[in-house]
Protein backbone atom coordinates (compact mmCIF):
# COMPACT_ATOMS: atom_id res chain seq x y z
CA UNK A 1 0.00 0.00 0.00
CA UNK A 2 1.33 3.46 -0.94
CA UNK A 3 1.63 5.61 2.17
CA UNK A 4 3.18 8.75 0.74
CA UNK A 5 3.75 10.54 -2.54
CA UNK A 6 5.94 13.37 -3.69
CA UNK A 7 5.93 15.79 -6.58
CA UNK A 8 9.22 17.41 -7.61
CA UNK A 9 10.81 16.02 -4.46
CA UNK A 10 8.22 17.52 -2.10
CA UNK A 11 5.85 15.45 0.00
CA UNK A 12 2.29 16.14 -1.17
CA UNK A 13 0.90 16.21 2.37
CA UNK A 14 3.69 17.68 4.48
CA UNK A 15 4.94 20.16 1.88
CA UNK A 16 1.76 20.95 -0.04
CA UNK A 17 2.50 24.71 -0.34
CA UNK A 18 5.87 23.94 -1.99
CA UNK A 19 4.18 21.46 -4.33
CA UNK A 20 1.60 24.06 -5.34
CA UNK A 21 4.33 26.48 -6.44
CA UNK A 22 5.80 24.03 -8.95
CA UNK A 23 2.63 22.55 -10.44
CA UNK A 24 -0.22 23.74 -12.60
CA UNK A 25 -3.31 22.20 -14.11
CA UNK A 26 -5.24 22.59 -17.36
CA UNK A 27 -8.41 20.75 -18.26
CA UNK A 28 -9.80 20.37 -21.74
CA UNK A 29 -13.26 21.56 -22.67
CA UNK A 30 -13.39 24.05 -19.83
CA UNK A 31 -14.21 27.72 -19.94
CA UNK A 32 -10.92 29.60 -19.78
CA UNK A 33 -11.50 31.51 -16.60
CA UNK A 34 -13.49 34.66 -16.46
CA UNK A 35 -15.35 35.59 -19.62
CA UNK A 36 -15.93 39.23 -18.76
CA UNK A 37 -12.23 40.08 -18.51
CA UNK A 38 -9.64 40.06 -21.27
CA UNK A 39 -7.06 37.46 -22.22
CA UNK A 40 -4.29 39.58 -20.70
CA UNK A 41 -6.30 40.17 -17.49
CA UNK A 42 -6.99 36.46 -17.05
CA UNK A 43 -3.29 35.70 -17.30
CA UNK A 44 -2.43 38.62 -15.03
CA UNK A 45 -4.84 37.41 -12.35
CA UNK A 46 -3.37 33.92 -12.26
CA UNK A 47 0.19 35.28 -12.37
CA UNK A 48 -0.60 37.18 -9.18
CA UNK A 49 -2.07 34.12 -7.49
CA UNK A 50 1.28 32.46 -8.17
CA UNK A 51 3.01 35.48 -6.63
CA UNK A 52 4.95 36.58 -9.72
CA UNK A 53 6.46 40.07 -9.30
CA UNK A 54 4.78 42.66 -11.55
CA UNK A 55 7.56 43.12 -14.12
CA UNK A 56 8.26 39.41 -14.38
CA UNK A 57 4.54 38.71 -14.76
CA UNK A 58 4.17 41.27 -17.54
CA UNK A 59 7.13 39.86 -19.47
CA UNK A 60 5.86 36.32 -18.97
CA UNK A 61 2.40 37.27 -20.23
CA UNK A 62 3.82 38.92 -23.37
CA UNK A 63 5.91 35.86 -24.11
CA UNK A 64 3.04 33.40 -23.53
CA UNK A 65 0.65 35.47 -25.63
CA UNK A 66 3.18 35.38 -28.44
CA UNK A 67 3.96 31.67 -28.06
CA UNK A 68 0.32 30.64 -27.99
CA UNK A 69 -0.70 32.88 -30.90
CA UNK A 70 -3.03 35.03 -28.83
CA UNK A 71 -1.66 38.43 -29.84
CA UNK A 72 -4.76 39.41 -31.83
CA UNK A 73 -7.01 38.65 -28.85
CA UNK A 74 -4.89 40.06 -26.06
CA UNK A 75 -7.43 42.75 -25.18
CA UNK A 76 -10.52 40.73 -26.10
CA UNK A 77 -12.88 39.57 -23.38
CA UNK A 78 -12.50 35.82 -23.31
CA UNK A 79 -16.17 34.97 -23.73
CA UNK A 80 -15.71 36.16 -27.32
CA UNK A 81 -12.92 33.65 -28.09
CA UNK A 82 -13.47 30.48 -30.10
CA UNK A 83 -13.05 27.10 -28.39
CA UNK A 84 -9.58 26.69 -29.90
CA UNK A 85 -8.35 30.07 -28.69
CA UNK A 86 -9.92 29.46 -25.28
CA UNK A 87 -7.88 26.31 -25.01
CA UNK A 88 -4.74 28.17 -26.07
CA UNK A 89 -5.43 30.65 -23.27
CA UNK A 90 -6.00 27.75 -20.90
CA UNK A 91 -2.63 26.30 -21.79
CA UNK A 92 -0.94 29.68 -21.53
CA UNK A 93 -2.39 29.96 -18.02
CA UNK A 94 -1.00 26.52 -17.27
CA UNK A 95 2.51 27.74 -18.05
CA UNK A 96 2.23 31.07 -16.22
CA UNK A 97 4.32 29.85 -13.26
CA UNK A 98 6.75 27.77 -15.35
CA UNK A 99 5.56 24.60 -13.64
CA UNK A 100 7.97 21.73 -13.20
CA UNK A 101 4.97 19.42 -13.34
CA UNK A 102 1.97 20.30 -15.47
CA UNK A 103 -1.21 18.22 -15.39
CA UNK A 104 -3.15 18.29 -18.65
CA UNK A 105 -6.56 16.67 -18.62
CA UNK A 106 -7.77 15.95 -22.17
CA UNK A 107 -6.02 19.08 -23.56
CA UNK A 108 -7.37 18.75 -27.10
CA UNK A 109 -10.92 17.72 -26.24
CA UNK A 110 -13.44 19.19 -28.67
CA UNK A 111 -10.84 20.98 -30.80
CA UNK A 112 -10.59 20.94 -34.58
CA UNK A 113 -7.75 18.95 -36.14
CA UNK A 114 -5.49 21.92 -36.91
CA UNK A 115 -5.83 23.52 -33.47
CA UNK A 116 -5.33 20.17 -31.76
CA UNK A 117 -2.17 19.62 -33.81
CA UNK A 118 -0.88 23.09 -32.94
CA UNK A 119 -1.51 22.48 -29.26
CA UNK A 120 0.29 19.13 -29.40
CA UNK A 121 3.26 20.87 -31.02
CA UNK A 122 3.34 23.46 -28.26
CA UNK A 123 3.16 20.80 -25.55
CA UNK A 124 5.92 18.80 -27.20
CA UNK A 125 8.16 21.85 -27.61
CA UNK A 126 7.72 22.76 -23.97
CA UNK A 127 9.07 19.42 -22.81
CA UNK A 128 11.78 19.32 -25.45
CA UNK A 129 13.14 22.73 -24.52
CA UNK A 130 13.46 21.98 -20.83
CA UNK A 131 14.19 18.44 -19.79
CA UNK A 132 13.54 19.37 -16.13
CA UNK A 133 9.82 19.62 -16.86
CA UNK A 134 7.22 16.88 -16.77
CA UNK A 135 3.83 17.09 -18.40
CA UNK A 136 1.32 14.49 -17.32
CA UNK A 137 -1.49 14.11 -19.83
CA UNK A 138 -4.67 12.12 -19.49
CA UNK A 139 -6.21 11.40 -22.87
CA UNK A 140 -8.48 9.02 -24.67
CA UNK A 141 -6.79 9.84 -27.99
CA UNK A 142 -4.21 7.11 -28.49
CA UNK A 143 -2.75 8.88 -31.53
CA UNK A 144 -2.15 11.92 -29.36
CA UNK A 145 -0.48 9.85 -26.66
CA UNK A 146 1.68 8.15 -29.29
CA UNK A 147 2.68 11.49 -30.81
CA UNK A 148 3.63 13.47 -27.74
CA UNK A 149 4.31 11.14 -24.82
CA UNK A 150 7.64 9.64 -23.80
CA UNK A 151 6.02 7.21 -21.36
CA UNK A 152 2.49 5.94 -21.32
CA UNK A 153 0.48 4.26 -18.60
CA UNK A 154 -2.68 2.45 -19.65
CA UNK A 155 -5.26 2.57 -16.90
CA UNK A 156 -8.26 0.27 -16.69
CA UNK A 157 -10.76 0.55 -13.86
CA UNK A 158 -8.40 2.74 -11.84
CA UNK A 159 -5.37 0.44 -12.13
CA UNK A 160 -2.24 0.80 -14.26
CA UNK A 161 -2.14 -2.29 -16.46
CA UNK A 162 0.80 -1.33 -18.67
CA UNK A 163 3.58 1.25 -18.46
CA UNK A 164 6.34 2.03 -20.92
CA UNK A 165 7.43 4.01 -23.95
CA UNK A 166 5.11 3.85 -26.99
CA UNK A 167 7.62 1.51 -28.66
CA UNK A 168 7.76 -0.77 -25.61
CA UNK A 169 4.00 -0.96 -25.43
CA UNK A 170 3.70 -1.74 -29.13
CA UNK A 171 6.25 -4.51 -28.75
CA UNK A 172 3.91 -6.08 -26.20
CA UNK A 173 1.54 -6.93 -29.03
CA UNK A 174 4.08 -7.36 -31.82
CA UNK A 175 3.55 -11.12 -31.85
CA UNK A 176 -0.14 -10.53 -32.32
CA UNK A 177 -1.94 -9.77 -35.55
CA UNK A 178 -4.53 -7.14 -36.18
CA UNK A 179 -7.21 -7.54 -38.81
CA UNK A 180 -9.90 -5.11 -39.85
CA UNK A 181 -13.06 -6.46 -41.37
CA UNK A 182 -16.29 -4.90 -42.52
CA UNK A 183 -19.65 -6.58 -42.31
CA UNK A 184 -23.31 -5.57 -42.32
CA UNK A 185 -24.65 -5.17 -38.76
CA UNK A 186 -24.98 -8.51 -36.99
CA UNK A 187 -28.18 -9.24 -35.13
CA UNK A 188 -27.42 -9.80 -31.48
CA UNK A 189 -24.22 -7.76 -31.60
CA UNK A 190 -20.57 -8.73 -31.82
CA UNK A 191 -19.82 -9.61 -28.21
CA UNK A 192 -19.44 -13.28 -29.25
CA UNK A 193 -16.01 -12.35 -30.65
CA UNK A 194 -14.48 -12.15 -27.17
CA UNK A 195 -15.10 -15.84 -26.66
CA UNK A 196 -13.57 -16.91 -29.97
CA UNK A 197 -10.39 -18.90 -29.41
CA UNK A 198 -7.26 -16.83 -30.19
CA UNK A 199 -8.89 -13.38 -29.95
CA UNK A 200 -7.16 -10.98 -27.52
CA UNK A 201 -9.68 -8.22 -27.97
CA UNK A 202 -11.67 -6.25 -30.48
CA UNK A 203 -13.29 -2.89 -31.11
CA UNK A 204 -16.28 -1.96 -33.23
CA UNK A 205 -17.03 1.22 -35.16
CA UNK A 206 -20.29 1.94 -36.95
CA UNK A 207 -20.01 3.30 -40.48
CA UNK A 208 -23.27 5.20 -41.00
CA UNK A 209 -22.35 6.25 -44.56
CA UNK A 210 -22.15 2.63 -45.76
CA UNK A 211 -24.47 1.01 -43.23
CA UNK A 212 -21.65 -1.37 -42.29
CA UNK A 213 -19.75 -2.01 -39.10
CA UNK A 214 -15.98 -2.08 -38.94
CA UNK A 215 -14.40 -4.60 -36.58
CA UNK A 216 -10.80 -4.33 -35.47
CA UNK A 217 -9.75 -7.68 -34.02
CA UNK A 218 -6.47 -8.37 -32.21
CA UNK A 219 -5.46 -12.02 -32.73
CA UNK A 220 -2.96 -13.92 -30.62
CA UNK A 221 -1.68 -15.33 -33.92
CA UNK A 222 -2.86 -15.40 -37.49
CA UNK A 223 -4.18 -18.96 -37.24
CA UNK A 224 -7.10 -17.57 -35.23
CA UNK A 225 -8.34 -15.64 -38.29
CA UNK A 226 -10.20 -18.63 -39.67
CA UNK A 227 -12.19 -19.04 -36.43
CA UNK A 228 -13.05 -15.34 -36.42
CA UNK A 229 -14.33 -15.41 -40.01
CA UNK A 230 -16.35 -18.56 -39.34
CA UNK A 231 -17.95 -17.19 -36.21
CA UNK A 232 -18.85 -13.89 -37.92
CA UNK A 233 -20.52 -15.66 -40.84
CA UNK A 234 -22.22 -18.16 -38.57
CA UNK A 235 -23.82 -15.29 -36.64
CA UNK A 236 -25.28 -13.88 -39.86
CA UNK A 237 -22.44 -11.51 -40.75
CA UNK A 238 -20.90 -11.23 -44.18
CA UNK A 239 -17.23 -10.41 -44.74
CA UNK A 240 -17.27 -7.44 -47.13
CA UNK A 241 -13.66 -6.32 -46.71
CA UNK A 242 -10.71 -7.76 -44.83
CA UNK A 243 -7.30 -6.17 -44.24
CA UNK A 244 -4.29 -6.37 -41.95
CA UNK A 245 -3.30 -3.41 -39.81
CA UNK A 246 -0.06 -2.03 -38.38
CA UNK A 247 0.23 -1.97 -34.60
CA UNK A 248 -0.93 1.19 -32.90
CA UNK A 249 -1.37 2.13 -29.27
CA UNK A 250 -5.05 1.56 -29.71
CA UNK A 251 -4.28 -2.08 -30.53
CA UNK A 252 -2.20 -2.29 -27.37
CA UNK A 253 -5.15 -0.97 -25.43
CA UNK A 254 -7.55 -3.37 -27.10
CA UNK A 255 -5.24 -6.29 -26.49
CA UNK A 256 -4.72 -5.39 -22.82
CA UNK A 257 -8.19 -4.30 -21.89
CA UNK A 258 -10.02 -6.61 -24.27
CA UNK A 259 -12.25 -4.02 -25.89
CA UNK A 260 -12.15 -0.60 -27.55
CA UNK A 261 -13.19 2.61 -25.84
CA UNK A 262 -16.73 2.58 -24.67
Amino acid sequence: MVTNADVGGYDVVEEAPKVRRIINLVSGGETPGYGSITTRENLWFFSQLYGLPGDEARKKIVSLIDEFGLTVYVNTRTHKLSTGYRQRLNLARGFINDPKVLFLDEPTLGLDVITAKRIREIIRSRVKDDSGRCILITTHYMVEADEICDRIAIIDRGRIIALGTPAELKRMVSTQSIVILETPPIQGGTSFLSSVEGVSGFSQADEPSTGRIKLKVVLKDESALQSVLQSVTSKGGKILTLSKSEHTLEDVYIALVGKGFE
Binding site: P17, R20, L25, S27, T31, G33, L49, G51, R93
Partner: protein, 284 residues
Protein backbone atom coordinates in the same frame (compact mmCIF):
# COMPACT_ATOMS: atom_id res chain seq x y z
CA UNK B 1 0.73 30.85 3.78
CA UNK B 2 2.66 34.02 4.61
CA UNK B 3 0.64 37.17 5.20
CA UNK B 4 2.01 39.24 2.30
CA UNK B 5 1.29 36.73 -0.50
CA UNK B 6 -2.09 36.02 1.12
CA UNK B 7 -3.00 39.71 1.05
CA UNK B 8 -1.67 40.10 -2.49
CA UNK B 9 -3.85 37.21 -3.67
CA UNK B 10 -6.85 38.62 -1.81
CA UNK B 11 -6.22 42.05 -3.37
CA UNK B 12 -6.13 40.69 -6.90
CA UNK B 13 -9.18 38.53 -6.20
CA UNK B 14 -10.98 41.69 -5.11
CA UNK B 15 -9.77 43.34 -8.34
CA UNK B 16 -11.17 40.39 -10.30
CA UNK B 17 -14.45 40.53 -8.36
CA UNK B 18 -14.84 44.21 -9.15
CA UNK B 19 -14.11 43.55 -12.84
CA UNK B 20 -16.70 40.76 -12.91
CA UNK B 21 -19.26 42.96 -11.14
CA UNK B 22 -18.72 45.94 -13.44
CA UNK B 23 -17.59 44.61 -16.82
CA UNK B 24 -20.85 42.98 -17.81
CA UNK B 25 -22.39 46.26 -18.88
CA UNK B 26 -21.69 49.99 -19.41
CA UNK B 27 -21.07 52.18 -16.33
CA UNK B 28 -24.48 53.84 -16.49
CA UNK B 29 -26.42 50.58 -16.57
CA UNK B 30 -24.17 49.25 -13.82
CA UNK B 31 -24.93 52.23 -11.59
CA UNK B 32 -28.61 51.92 -12.40
CA UNK B 33 -28.64 48.24 -11.53
CA UNK B 34 -26.79 48.80 -8.29
CA UNK B 35 -29.18 51.59 -7.40
CA UNK B 36 -32.46 50.18 -8.64
CA UNK B 37 -32.28 46.83 -6.90
CA UNK B 38 -31.76 48.13 -3.34
CA UNK B 39 -33.86 51.21 -3.98
CA UNK B 40 -36.78 49.02 -5.04
CA UNK B 41 -36.47 47.21 -1.69
CA UNK B 42 -36.49 50.54 0.13
CA UNK B 43 -39.51 51.73 -1.84
CA UNK B 44 -41.48 48.58 -0.99
CA UNK B 45 -40.82 49.03 2.72
CA UNK B 46 -41.49 52.77 2.46
CA UNK B 47 -44.81 52.31 0.71
CA UNK B 48 -45.92 49.58 3.13
CA UNK B 49 -45.19 52.10 5.87
CA UNK B 50 -47.14 54.82 4.09
CA UNK B 51 -50.16 52.61 3.42
CA UNK B 52 -50.12 51.33 7.01
CA UNK B 53 -49.83 54.88 8.33
CA UNK B 54 -52.76 56.10 6.24
CA UNK B 55 -54.87 53.13 7.33
CA UNK B 56 -54.03 53.74 11.00
CA UNK B 57 -54.42 57.50 10.63
CA UNK B 58 -51.09 58.03 12.32
CA UNK B 59 -47.63 58.49 10.85
CA UNK B 60 -44.61 57.88 13.06
CA UNK B 61 -41.59 59.50 11.46
CA UNK B 62 -39.50 57.95 14.22
CA UNK B 63 -40.52 54.49 13.04
CA UNK B 64 -39.99 55.48 9.43
CA UNK B 65 -36.42 56.56 10.25
CA UNK B 66 -35.94 53.21 12.03
CA UNK B 67 -37.17 51.40 8.90
CA UNK B 68 -35.11 53.56 6.55
CA UNK B 69 -31.86 52.95 8.42
CA UNK B 70 -32.58 49.22 8.81
CA UNK B 71 -33.25 48.84 5.10
CA UNK B 72 -30.20 50.88 4.06
CA UNK B 73 -27.92 48.91 6.42
CA UNK B 74 -29.36 45.66 5.12
CA UNK B 75 -27.95 46.36 1.62
CA UNK B 76 -24.58 45.04 2.85
CA UNK B 77 -26.22 41.90 4.21
CA UNK B 78 -28.15 41.02 1.08
CA UNK B 79 -25.40 41.80 -1.42
CA UNK B 80 -22.42 40.26 0.38
CA UNK B 81 -24.46 37.16 1.24
CA UNK B 82 -25.66 36.87 -2.35
CA UNK B 83 -22.10 36.94 -3.74
CA UNK B 84 -20.45 34.70 -1.15
CA UNK B 85 -23.36 32.23 -1.19
CA UNK B 86 -22.89 31.56 -4.89
CA UNK B 87 -19.11 31.84 -5.36
CA UNK B 88 -18.33 28.14 -5.20
CA UNK B 89 -21.10 27.30 -7.66
CA UNK B 90 -19.88 29.99 -10.08
CA UNK B 91 -16.32 28.75 -9.88
CA UNK B 92 -17.40 25.18 -10.45
CA UNK B 93 -19.98 25.59 -13.15
CA UNK B 94 -19.83 29.03 -14.74
CA UNK B 95 -16.11 29.80 -14.91
CA UNK B 96 -14.90 26.22 -14.33
CA UNK B 97 -11.82 27.54 -12.57
CA UNK B 98 -12.17 26.01 -9.12
CA UNK B 99 -9.51 23.39 -9.83
CA UNK B 100 -7.13 25.98 -11.25
CA UNK B 101 -7.64 28.23 -8.23
CA UNK B 102 -7.29 25.36 -5.81
CA UNK B 103 -3.86 24.28 -7.06
CA UNK B 104 -2.35 27.77 -6.83
CA UNK B 105 -0.19 28.53 -3.78
CA UNK B 106 -2.88 30.98 -2.70
CA UNK B 107 -5.67 28.39 -3.01
CA UNK B 108 -9.24 29.29 -2.08
CA UNK B 109 -9.19 31.35 1.13
CA UNK B 110 -7.68 34.62 -0.18
CA UNK B 111 -9.81 34.27 -3.26
CA UNK B 112 -13.01 34.05 -1.22
CA UNK B 113 -11.87 36.95 0.95
CA UNK B 114 -11.06 39.11 -2.06
CA UNK B 115 -14.34 38.40 -3.84
CA UNK B 116 -16.26 39.15 -0.62
CA UNK B 117 -14.35 42.43 -0.22
CA UNK B 118 -15.24 43.48 -3.74
CA UNK B 119 -18.88 42.67 -2.95
CA UNK B 120 -18.56 44.87 0.15
CA UNK B 121 -17.17 47.69 -1.98
CA UNK B 122 -19.97 47.32 -4.53
CA UNK B 123 -22.47 47.29 -1.64
CA UNK B 124 -21.00 50.57 -0.41
CA UNK B 125 -21.61 52.12 -3.84
CA UNK B 126 -25.13 50.72 -3.74
CA UNK B 127 -25.77 51.90 -0.19
CA UNK B 128 -24.58 55.45 -0.86
CA UNK B 129 -26.63 55.78 -4.05
CA UNK B 130 -29.72 54.39 -2.31
CA UNK B 131 -29.17 56.66 0.69
CA UNK B 132 -29.03 59.75 -1.52
CA UNK B 133 -31.98 58.85 -3.72
CA UNK B 134 -34.02 57.48 -0.79
CA UNK B 135 -33.49 60.66 1.22
CA UNK B 136 -34.52 62.75 -1.76
CA UNK B 137 -37.62 60.71 -2.62
CA UNK B 138 -38.96 60.26 0.90
CA UNK B 139 -37.96 63.60 2.44
CA UNK B 140 -38.52 65.92 -0.49
CA UNK B 141 -40.89 64.18 -2.90
CA UNK B 142 -43.11 62.45 -0.34
CA UNK B 143 -42.59 64.85 2.55
CA UNK B 144 -41.74 62.27 5.23
CA UNK B 145 -39.24 63.77 7.62
CA UNK B 146 -36.25 61.58 8.41
CA UNK B 147 -35.23 62.18 12.01
CA UNK B 148 -31.55 62.27 11.25
CA UNK B 149 -29.36 65.14 12.39
CA UNK B 150 -26.13 64.95 10.39
CA UNK B 151 -24.33 66.93 13.09
CA UNK B 152 -25.24 64.37 15.76
CA UNK B 153 -24.04 61.33 13.77
CA UNK B 154 -21.04 59.61 15.39
CA UNK B 155 -19.08 58.97 12.20
CA UNK B 156 -16.17 56.98 13.71
CA UNK B 157 -18.66 54.67 15.44
CA UNK B 158 -20.68 54.38 12.24
CA UNK B 159 -17.56 53.44 10.25
CA UNK B 160 -16.49 50.93 12.87
CA UNK B 161 -19.96 49.36 13.04
CA UNK B 162 -20.06 48.97 9.27
CA UNK B 163 -16.55 47.46 9.21
CA UNK B 164 -17.44 44.94 11.93
CA UNK B 165 -20.68 44.14 10.13
CA UNK B 166 -18.77 43.54 6.88
CA UNK B 167 -16.24 41.34 8.71
CA UNK B 168 -19.09 39.22 10.13
CA UNK B 169 -20.70 38.89 6.73
CA UNK B 170 -17.43 37.88 5.06
CA UNK B 171 -16.84 35.24 7.74
CA UNK B 172 -20.36 34.01 7.22
CA UNK B 173 -19.48 33.82 3.51
CA UNK B 174 -16.74 31.31 4.35
CA UNK B 175 -19.33 29.16 6.11
CA UNK B 176 -21.70 29.39 3.13
CA UNK B 177 -18.86 28.49 0.76
CA UNK B 178 -18.01 25.52 2.97
CA UNK B 179 -21.61 24.32 2.78
CA UNK B 180 -21.59 24.74 -1.00
CA UNK B 181 -18.36 22.75 -1.29
CA UNK B 182 -20.22 19.79 0.19
CA UNK B 183 -23.57 20.31 -1.49
CA UNK B 184 -24.67 21.05 -5.03
CA UNK B 185 -28.32 21.49 -4.11
CA UNK B 186 -28.20 24.80 -2.26
CA UNK B 187 -26.19 27.04 -4.53
CA UNK B 188 -29.16 29.04 -5.80
CA UNK B 189 -31.04 29.25 -2.52
CA UNK B 190 -28.59 29.29 0.37
CA UNK B 191 -27.94 33.03 0.26
CA UNK B 192 -31.69 33.68 -0.10
CA UNK B 193 -32.46 31.55 2.98
CA UNK B 194 -29.77 33.20 5.04
CA UNK B 195 -30.54 36.78 4.09
CA UNK B 196 -34.28 36.05 4.49
CA UNK B 197 -33.70 34.87 8.06
CA UNK B 198 -31.55 37.91 8.79
CA UNK B 199 -34.19 40.22 7.36
CA UNK B 200 -36.85 38.73 9.63
CA UNK B 201 -34.81 38.33 12.79
CA UNK B 202 -32.13 41.01 12.47
CA UNK B 203 -34.01 44.08 13.79
CA UNK B 204 -34.28 45.38 10.22
CA UNK B 205 -37.93 46.36 9.93
CA UNK B 206 -39.33 45.56 13.38
CA UNK B 207 -37.84 45.02 16.84
CA UNK B 208 -37.16 41.32 17.62
CA UNK B 209 -38.92 41.83 20.97
CA UNK B 210 -42.15 41.44 18.96
CA UNK B 211 -41.11 37.90 18.00
CA UNK B 212 -41.99 34.76 20.00
CA UNK B 213 -39.44 33.90 22.73
CA UNK B 214 -37.22 31.37 20.89
CA UNK B 215 -37.00 33.56 17.76
CA UNK B 216 -36.20 36.58 19.91
CA UNK B 217 -33.42 34.55 21.52
CA UNK B 218 -32.14 33.51 18.10
CA UNK B 219 -32.17 37.14 17.00
CA UNK B 220 -29.96 38.06 19.95
CA UNK B 221 -27.35 35.54 18.75
CA UNK B 222 -27.05 37.06 15.26
CA UNK B 223 -24.25 39.54 14.56
CA UNK B 224 -26.52 41.26 12.04
CA UNK B 225 -28.89 42.33 14.81
CA UNK B 226 -26.11 44.19 16.63
CA UNK B 227 -24.64 45.55 13.41
CA UNK B 228 -27.95 47.19 12.51
CA UNK B 229 -28.49 48.41 16.07
CA UNK B 230 -24.97 49.86 16.24
CA UNK B 231 -25.51 51.66 12.92
CA UNK B 232 -28.82 53.07 14.13
CA UNK B 233 -27.34 54.17 17.45
CA UNK B 234 -24.38 55.81 15.67
CA UNK B 235 -26.67 57.73 13.32
CA UNK B 236 -29.55 58.62 15.61
CA UNK B 237 -28.05 59.31 19.03
CA UNK B 238 -24.34 59.40 18.30
CA UNK B 239 -23.69 58.79 21.98
CA UNK B 240 -21.09 56.14 22.82
CA UNK B 241 -23.18 54.91 25.78
CA UNK B 242 -25.89 53.86 23.36
CA UNK B 243 -23.46 52.53 20.76
CA UNK B 244 -20.95 50.58 22.85
CA UNK B 245 -23.17 47.74 24.16
CA UNK B 246 -24.22 46.90 20.60
CA UNK B 247 -20.73 47.32 19.25
CA UNK B 248 -19.27 45.10 21.95
CA UNK B 249 -21.75 42.33 21.14
CA UNK B 250 -21.07 42.82 17.44
CA UNK B 251 -17.34 42.51 18.04
CA UNK B 252 -17.78 39.38 20.16
CA UNK B 253 -20.07 37.71 17.59
CA UNK B 254 -17.80 38.82 14.74
CA UNK B 255 -14.89 37.04 16.42
CA UNK B 256 -16.98 33.92 17.02
CA UNK B 257 -18.28 33.80 13.47
CA UNK B 258 -14.80 34.45 12.04
CA UNK B 259 -13.40 31.48 13.95
CA UNK B 260 -16.44 29.37 13.00
CA UNK B 261 -16.19 30.47 9.37
CA UNK B 262 -12.51 29.62 9.01
CA UNK B 263 -12.77 26.32 10.89
CA UNK B 264 -15.99 25.37 9.11
CA UNK B 265 -14.58 26.15 5.70
CA UNK B 266 -11.36 24.26 6.49
CA UNK B 267 -13.30 21.19 7.60
CA UNK B 268 -15.58 21.35 4.54
CA UNK B 269 -12.58 21.73 2.21
CA UNK B 270 -10.86 18.74 3.80
CA UNK B 271 -14.00 16.61 3.56
CA UNK B 272 -14.71 17.65 -0.04
CA UNK B 273 -11.14 16.75 -0.96
CA UNK B 274 -11.40 13.38 0.76
CA UNK B 275 -14.69 12.61 -1.01
CA UNK B 276 -13.33 13.85 -4.36
CA UNK B 277 -16.13 16.39 -4.77
CA UNK B 278 -14.17 19.65 -4.69
CA UNK B 279 -15.09 20.54 -8.25
CA UNK B 280 -18.31 18.58 -8.48
CA UNK B 281 -20.84 20.34 -10.69
CA UNK B 282 -24.57 20.38 -10.25
CA UNK B 283 -26.73 18.91 -12.96
CA UNK B 284 -28.79 22.06 -13.33
Amino acid sequence: MAVKPFLKSAWYSAWLGWKIETNWTDPLTFAGYYLLRPFAGLLIVGFIFLIGSFAAGNMSTQYFTYLFLGQISFIYVSQITMVTGSLIHEERSKYETLRSLYVTPASLRPYLLGRALSAAFASTVSMLLTLLLGTFVFSYALGIRLEIDLLKVNYPALGLSVLLGIASLISLGFLLSGINLLSTKLQFTLSEYVSGIFFLLGDVIFPPSMLPGPLNLLSSALPITYYIRAVRASVLSGVWDAILPNMAMLLLLAIIITVAGLLGFGAAEKRAKRLGILDRKSEY
